[in-house]
Amino acid sequence: MREELKTRESSTNWASVASRIAAMALVGTAAYVLLRKPLARANAPVRLTRSITVMRPREEVYRFWRDLSNLPRFMEHLEKVTVLDDKRSRWVAKGPAEMRLEWEAEITQDRPGERLAWRSLPGSELPNWGVVHFQDLGPQRGTLVQLEMMYEPPAGHLGVTLAKLIGQNPEQQVANDLRRLQQVLETGHAATTEGQPVGKGQPAEQGRKVEGSST
């Protein structure tokens, strides 16, 4: 039951859902086509930026992130981050069909409460780096978290694995990860429906028969 639900949730193609909704009106469809970004070309370095506002004190948000072992709590594709020492850590990302990508990373800059940067060490299966800024927005306005990440998709077989891992929309992935960060920090847990009951008709009919579709 749970496995089935997972497949269903993860196989939900939100781009197509969005297009279906947009297709409820021509204007919407046009806007959707215009707004859709082209997919990243294989092997070109991928740069991602995204920010979010979290209603927790800046120090707390920084500390949560600084303990890199917390990252898998909101970064969906990370299975585990093991902190090796003050600077170095070992990252394991999970993919479909038990596939794994692993690398070691080091913290390259640490300004407590303000800025944290890291990069993978040479020999990584997935060369990547990232930097996150934390900024106070004033009383009752929370902490601004700005994330910038870059990775170089490997060629060949690994590249294919990675594409599956990250999906076709890495921007959305990062946005979702940051949203989960917010949920974990503000409420203690990321929102979920995984494992809830559902009736007949899923997942087999999903994707074929969604009403409101206008094709």
């Binding site: 039951m1 939900t12 939100w14 781009a15 859902v17 969005a18 279906r20 909704i21 947009a22 297709a23 409820m24 009106a25 021509l26 204007v27 919407g28 959707y32 506002t53 209603m55 009752q140 306005r141 929370g142 959305q172 946005a175 979702n176 949203r179 917010q182 949920q183 503000e186 409420t187 203690g188 847990h189 990321a190 929102a191 979920t192 429906t193 995984e194 494992g195 809830q196 009951p197 559902v198 009736g199 007949k200 008709g201 899923q202 009919e205 999903q206 028969k209 969604v210 009403e211 409101g212 206008s214």
Partner: protein, 394 residues
């Protein structure tokens, strides 16, 4: 357990599904004792709300008994009787802290989808499509209720289920409609739609100082409820049509030429129209060139007195056509709208109900079992047999 599922436009299933589990430490499981079919469920039934999937358990207006409690829940215990707000809110985010609970940022796991459609995502709603979180709903014997310390309110002994059920949705929605109308003492308030939501907004308009309340609908039996229980003057727009008068003209006549000070749209996107506008919107929605039919909204804007307020509580989901922005702008109107911030009003409304200051049972016309949900939907949708609201008992 037994649950009512969406199986395509106009089709429901009553099926056996696994019981819900606690999925987060601040969840509770509620055994449903009473639920009701809301106008919003009709938008789902009629296929106006996208991202429904076959097998989704529907229903958002419900109450019951707490039967399982997550380890982090502090305010509820096994055995508590609770009314559950339709909207799921975390209580901790920027919006919840401002009491804008239906804009909560932390409860919709599909927020990215809503973001693509609306620019931003609001809160999740029970049983109300994947765009609104995809949570299993209340037309089931058991329901998982997340953030249990934020939503559900305990019902004091001595109050029946029927007395408090609507505190889940229709009553606070009606209250919010009246609140958003910014009523000043003595104002004339016109309400489009005499369903439970419209009726409750009429009652709440009085509470907030209205001097006159006018109800507009085409269902004479519902207008009778408005007269009898909400002290409203009524206008039947269907018979007006026969008299060759428009609603705007009639309301102008009724208000000494000024128009109602405050107008409430408690109809939403599936409004029934009259005349040319009706044909226009029917064709356009059928061709999917327009998603919502805004008759009531257009009329409210047209009828409202200059400098007045139009409060939109009927649900809109997508795009509308021929929106009379010119009238709204040049008459200096204020427009307020939104899903209900249920958590903000439930405590206060429960108190009013328990003190006997507010009767929330009068819209109930039909009682059925959960298994009869398909019939309940048809009866409610077509206003069969004088139906205003059906309650379902598992």
């Amino acid at each position: 357990m037994k649950a009512v599922t969406w199986q395509g436009v106009g089709r429901l299933g009553v099926e056996s599904v696994p019981d819900p589990l606690l999925l987060r430490p601040d969840d509770v499981i509620v055994r449903t004792t009473l639920a009701t079919v809301c106008g919003s469920d009709l938008h789902i039934y009629d296929g106006f709300i996208p991202t429904m999937q076959h097998g989704d358990i529907i229903g958002h207006e419900f109450m019951g008994e707490v039967v399982e409690v997550g380890p982090e829940v502090r305010h509820l215990e096994k055995g508590d009787r609770v009314v559950v707000p339709a909207v799921i809110a975390c209580g901790a985010c920027f919006f919840c802290k401002k009491e804008l609970y239906s804009l909560c940022e932390n409860t919709n796991p599909n927020a990215h989808a809503a973001e693509q459609v609306y620019g931003h995502s609001g809160a999740a709603i029970f049983g109300y499509s994947h765009l609104f979180g995809g949570y299993a709903g209340g037309f089931a014997e058991y329901v998982r209720v997340p953030h249990a310390d934020v939503g559900p309110v305990k019902v004091p002994e001595g109050l029946s289920d029927e007395q408090v059920l609507f505190i889940s949705d229709a009553l606070p929605t009606g209250y919010q409609a009246a609140l958003f109308a910014e009523i000043e003492p003595g104002d004339t308030v016109a309400v489009w739609g005499a369903g439970a939501v419209g009726l409750f907004s009429m009652k709440c308009a009085w509470l907030l100082g209205a001097g006159r309340v006018i109800a507009i609908d085409q269902d004479e039996q519902r207008l009778e409820l408005a007269r009898r229980h909400c002290q409203a003057e009524t206008v039947n727009f269907r018979s007006l049509e026969h008299d060759g008068q428009t609603i705007v003209e009639r309301l102008r006549d009724m208000t000494g030429g000024r128009g109602p000070d405050r107008c409430i749209d408690a109809v939403g996107m599936e409004a029934h129209g009259t005349g040319f506008g009706r044909l226009y919107d029917e064709i356009k929605t059928r061709l999917k060139l327009e998603s919502d039919r805004p008759f009531a909204l257009r009329q409210a804007i047209q009828a409202c007195r200059k400098g007045g307020t139009v409060s939109v509580i009927g649900v809109y989901g997508g795009l509308i056509d021929k929106f009379n922005i010119g009238a709204a702008f040049n008459k200096g109107l204020t427009l307020r709208m939104g899903q209900l911030h249920a958590q903000r009003y439930v405590g206060m409304l429960l108190e009013k109900v328990s003190k006997g200051e507010l009767d929330a049972t009068f819209p109930i016309t039909h009682r059925m079992s959960l298994e009869e949900a398909p019939r309940a939907f048809e009866t409610f949708k077509n206003h069969h047999d004088g139906c205003c609201r059906v309650v379902l008992r598992p």
